[in-house]
Symmetry: C2
Subunit: 205 residues, 2 copies
């Protein structure tokens, strides 16, 4: 599993000529780090007299983000293995007509899955920005920059994941699937950019 | 060392109520991942007949990025320890006048250092975008999204690191130091935003 590697090795494996981990896994990691930073700000707010009024809200945030962080950590490996599946499909035999059909179908199904994994990453990463905003607005002011970095990492996770959705859509023949996904991609893309700008405007630095 | 932790633990430590790793370390990690992704695209271009014309350029990129990636990986821990230094300075005794002066100086020096570490992160991360651009333009087109993600991770590394510079500048009394740094921050901030837009415009998706 990629996520069992230490930071030095994970980064070095990314840099190598192995195609995974690639942009999709890095998007998921970026999202997990975004969740972690917002969680940290909430944790640094809990138990402080000055912030007693938001104590229960911060506890709720920690609980929600812990789940999202774990989902995003899982998506690091999930993205890599979905890519491997497509590669495997490409290596299927293509001698007989039957083999050709089986192979084409496997490639199409694999690519659809490989598009849906980063879309999931993008959706979860986008949902984190809601929490980045709350911790920036109401969390421990000593950690406000951490909340801002959370928003930026989430934005980049969303946009990076969506780029991996789009590259896969390019080879999918199911027009309805492509049209629906393209719609979702556009909406999420615009929303993430707008939301980041809004959150950063709160941080007076 | 933080970078010896595996991904799961590193992300979980970030999420905890430990103040480090915080936004500064995550900025450095984001920069290291940006370097790694551009390096990967270059590595996936080397040795391919179709790209023989850019082979030596790609080899040069791998060499340059390997150094930058390692510097950014080191900055993950360096950022955390610079924060610890400031915390230590705050805990110095402040009974006598002499102690007060020593403490104030230690806090000021520590904070200057804590501002200079993320500035270094921002500068190196910004310098990676030059390579993200080249691999997006001339590298293996199958990995173009990885080059684009590299550019986005670098942009976010720069902006996140600079936010950590700015928060530290707020408590530094040396006006000349603050003025010079503020100038650098503004220039880098605008440049990173502009450069990301330029690179993403090359990616037709």
């Amino acid at each position: 599993m990629l996520v069992n590697k230490n930071i030095v090795d994970f980064v070095a494996t990314t840099a190598s000529n192995e195609p995974v981990p690639g942009g999709g896994s890095i998007a998921a990691l970026s999202g997990a780090l975004a969740a972690a930073l917002a969680e940290m700000v909430a944790n640094l707010t809990i138990g402080k007299k000055k912030y007693v009024e938001v104590e229960s809200e911060m506890k709720g945030i920690v609980e929600a983000l812990e789940v999202k962080r774990q989902e995003l950590v899982e998506l690091i490996d999930k993205d890599a293995s979905s890519f491997d599946e497509v590669m495997k499909a490409f290596k299927l035999p293509k001698e007989t007509d039957e083999e050709k059909v089986t192979r084409t179908n496997a490639i199409q199904e694999g690519t659809k899955y490989a598009a849906s994994v980063p879309l999931q990453t993008a959706k979860i990463a986008y949902s984190i920005m809601e929490y980045s905003k709350v911790v920036v607005e109401k969390g421990n002011t000593n950690a406000v920059t951490d909340g801002a970095v959370s928003a930026m990492m989430a934005r980049t996770a969303v946009l990076s994941a969506l780029m991996n959705v789009k590259i896969n859509l390019g080879s999918i023949k199911d027009e309805k699937f492509v049209a629906d996904m393209t719609e979702e991609v556009k909406t999420l893309e615009a929303a993430a950019i707008k939301f980041e700008t809004e959150i950063l405007a709160v941080v007076k630095l």
